[in-house]
Structure formats: C-alpha cells, structure tokens
Subunit: 144 residues, 2 copies
C-alpha cells in the first residue's frame, strides 16, 4: 500500500501554506503531482520527502535557487559532494555576515535607547542619533 497525501497534509507536514506548495510547483521546485477524479493534487511519499528537504533547507536560510541546485546535485548519488559543500560554506559565510551587521545594529540601537531619558522629542537622543550618522560609533551596520 502506497502512501498518498493531499495538499493540505503536505502543507501541515512542511509547516507551510497550501499556496506555498502550489508556488513551488509553479516555479518547478516540486514536480507536477497526479490528480484525483475531482482534479485535486495527490502527492507521493517521494514528493513529501522532497518537500521536507526544501523546507528544512529554507529553515536553514538557503535560497530557493540554492535548494534547486543542491537538489539537482543529489540526483547523481555517485557525484562528489564538493559542490554541495561549497554552497553550504558560502551560505554559512552569508549568515555570519548578516549576524555581524545585525549585531552592529543591535549595539547602536541599545546605545541610542539608553541615552534617551523619555522626555520630549526636541531632546530625544533617539531622534538626534537618527538625524546624525556622525553620532554612531560603528558604521558597519549599513546594507542589511
């Protein structure tokens, strides 16, 4: 007995919306599934696993293009995994640089908030800091 899933069951398992599945199908990330007599999508276990792969990759912050590439590479199990490794390392670097920028923002925001004494706009250190970049310590936080 082969397992089959409705789009709703897939969405629940993948922690995503039904629309997301239709979107993945539309952009060719998920294969076009079979339909039942009433024209509703029926997914196989294999498709469910593929969705699991996609969703987990997304949770780790890979782009859909990266996911697409990794999935293409996994089609040949005897292929070297150098390229997968490369994609993952590059993504890790990207994640680390995002953390760096966010930490710089965090520090500046904290400093800004702490300097504010909660009186009026004209004396507000938050407004003042936002008005004047020169009041910043680090300037690393450009380009989110």
């Amino acid at each position: 007995m082969v397992q089959h899933y409705s789009i709703g069951q897939m969405a629940a398992a993948g922690h995503c919306k039904v629309q997301t599945l239709r979107y993945y199908e539309q952009i060719g990330l998920l294969p076009v599934p079979a339909r039942n007599e009433g024209n509703q999508r029926i997914y196989t276990q294999k498709q469910m696993d593929r969705l699991g792969f996609i969703r987990h990759s997304r949770e780790l912050g890979f782009s859909l293009d990266q996911v697409r590439e990794i999935l293409a590479l996994t089609d040949d199990p005897s292929h070297s995994c150098d390229e997968v490794d490369y994609i993952a390392r590059k993504h890790l670097q990207e994640v680390e640089s995002r953390i760096k920028r966010l930490r710089s923002m965090q520090q500046e925001l904290k400093r800004m908030i702490n300097r504010c004494d909660g009186k009026q706009i004209s004396d507000c250190r938050i407004v003042e800091t936002l008005s004047n970049h020169a009041l910043c310590i680090a300037k690393q936080h450009s380009a989110q």
Copy 2:
C-alpha cells in the same frame, strides 16, 4: 545664500541610487521637491537632512513605515518621545530575535559542514542533514 542639491548629489550623500530618491518621493516619504526650468528636481538643505534621517534609520534596520512614523512624531518637538522610544525598543527586539535565529542557523550549518568528509553525494552528511530535520539539534532556526 541657500544650498540646493541635484538628485545626483542627494543620492551620493545618502549612499543610495537616484531611483531610490524618486521612489521615496513617490511613496510620500520625501516631499515633492521644486524643479528647475528644465524640469529637474532641486532639493533644499532641509530635504537633504530628511534624507539623512531616512537613510540612517534604514541602516539601523527600521522599515520605511517605522521611519515614516518617527518622522511624523518628530514634527511636534514638544511631544513626548515615548512613542519613538517604543518603536526603537520594538525594533531592537526584532533585531535580537533575528540574530537568535541566524545564530541557530549558523550552528547547524557549521555542524553540518564539519560532518561532511567531502566524498560523494550518497554519503554526504550535508544532504543527509537537509533531508532529515530530526538530525538537527536545535530547531529554533525556523522562520528567517
């Protein structure tokens, strides 16, 4: 003698593109500037300062809607800065939760990469990890 700026000078000062300025104008974040005889935009110092405020806020990760709100609040200098403070604190929280999620991704990515021995896809621990969420330690990294 009053200072005036072309759109190109504004863009250079704001570290953004000319199109970005036209976009800010279109969404009502920057006022409609005067034009010269040749229909080109002429900006005042005040508008330049406003752009500085916007760009610095963006660098600190505020959304354009938040910037719009803060700018509206600063229109009344005698107004309490509680609301500005609130927006900034809420944004700080958001930044901190993004950092948390990214750090979780970072750890998982590192672990995944280190487990890979660089042989072939069929043995690749990266592919294996992506296939199976259960292989993750923390599951905090959902929803970028």
